[in-house]
Amino acid sequence: FQQASISSLSSSSELDSTKDVRSRKEGKMLRTPRDGATGRTPQERQPPQREQEPPGRGPRVVPHEYMLSIYRTYSIAEKLGINASFFQSSKSANTITSFVDRGLDDLSHTALRRQKYLFDVFTLSDKEELVGAELRLYRQAPAAPWGPPAGPVHVQLFPCQSQLLLDARTLDAQGPTPAGWEVFDVWQGLRHQARKQLCLELRSAWGEPDSRETEARARGPQQPPPPDLRSLGFGRRVRPPQERALLVVFTRSQRKNLFAEMREQLGSAEAAGPGAGAEGSWPPASGSRDAGPWLPSLGRRRRR
């Protein structure tokens, strides 16, 4: 047996050498100049990098490091004959979808005690069984200490406009706090949510992590207001894409075939023309203008 482990990227230069940025709409590939052959078989070559920018801005997508490590770990497990759905982290899912936060900090307030995280989850199919959901927040090392702590600091996560406490985390009030990922379980929040847009609210508080009234509880005159989330390292003003908040949804789908995804791609890439096949048929019925973008049409090769 070999230890299947998540191999972290050895160097950013390796990333750059395989970095090619695609703009999906034009279907063109702007390739950065590649280094010499890395002497690796194509399979071992790092998957190409794309910028996973918040949807709606640009068509470019770079997979988050977390998704790349999931892909690497599970494909190594497959090569070793281990069923990836047995991994505890996969929650026995066979589909893991990542959504990038679209929210921005509301800087009108002097202190930021609440943050809204927004995710467009309309692509989640309600035919798939939801087996887990996590909100991954990257906490930067706070620049300056947040002032004399009035006890342990907690951050709590709620659905927006709700008092349903989804998850809470106690932050170390003493000593330097290293940067790192905080992972919150938001499965409850997604279960009761119409699968269009998911809104989650992060709040800071003193006192017990799971007491709902923490913030509402009448604060004694001596207790200062809860700390600013930016002083806890959750500010979102300047964030590289790899540090943006990520919603990771684990689902198990009975859908076995690739064609469903291809139909989706066809649907998103081109308006279905008159020749489009009947619902559920793949490729579109013969006689349509062409066999579809993924198959080279007879004779002249088609490039998307």
């Binding site: 399979q43 949807p55 759905s85 589909t95 692509t123 995804e261 198959l295």
Partner: protein
């Protein structure tokens, strides 16, 4: 007894390969799918090729039906075609792709690689 050719060799026919697994390299870029599939951009899928003729080897894991069909074909090729050389074990691969909402998705796709072939 079954019908056997007198010379033990097929007249003028090169001996046809028995049912077995052959390489099939899949290149998603060639398929034009590389604008939504992030990884892998290619993989080894294999395919099954060859004849299922009498006697069937045990590693081909024939069904009883295939055994009967092969026997009948060897006795009278006009009565029925030989049984088919098909995948008998398939394994999944992981694919990282971009969905219709520009989100990055990891999915395990079943039955993407042929592990073994047999007669059915």
């Amino acid at each position: 007894t079954t019908f056997t050719s007198r010379h033990g060799k097929r007249h003028g026919k090169k001996s046809r390969l028995r049912c077995s697994k052959k390489p099939l390299h899949v290149n998603f870029k060639e398929l034009g799918w590389d604008d939504w599939i992030i990884a892998p951009l290619e993989y080894e899928a294999y395919h099954c090729e060859g004849v299922c003729d009498f006697p069937l080897r045990s590693h081909l894991e024939p069904t009883n039906h295939a055994i009967i069909q092969t026997l009948m074909n060897s006795m009278d090729p006009g009565s029925t075609p030989p049984s088919c050389c098909v995948p008998t074990k398939l394994t999944p691969i992981s694919i990282l792709y971009i969905d219709a909402g520009n989100n990055v998705v990891y999915k395990q796709y079943e039955d993407m690689v042929v592990e073994s072939c047999g007669c059915r």
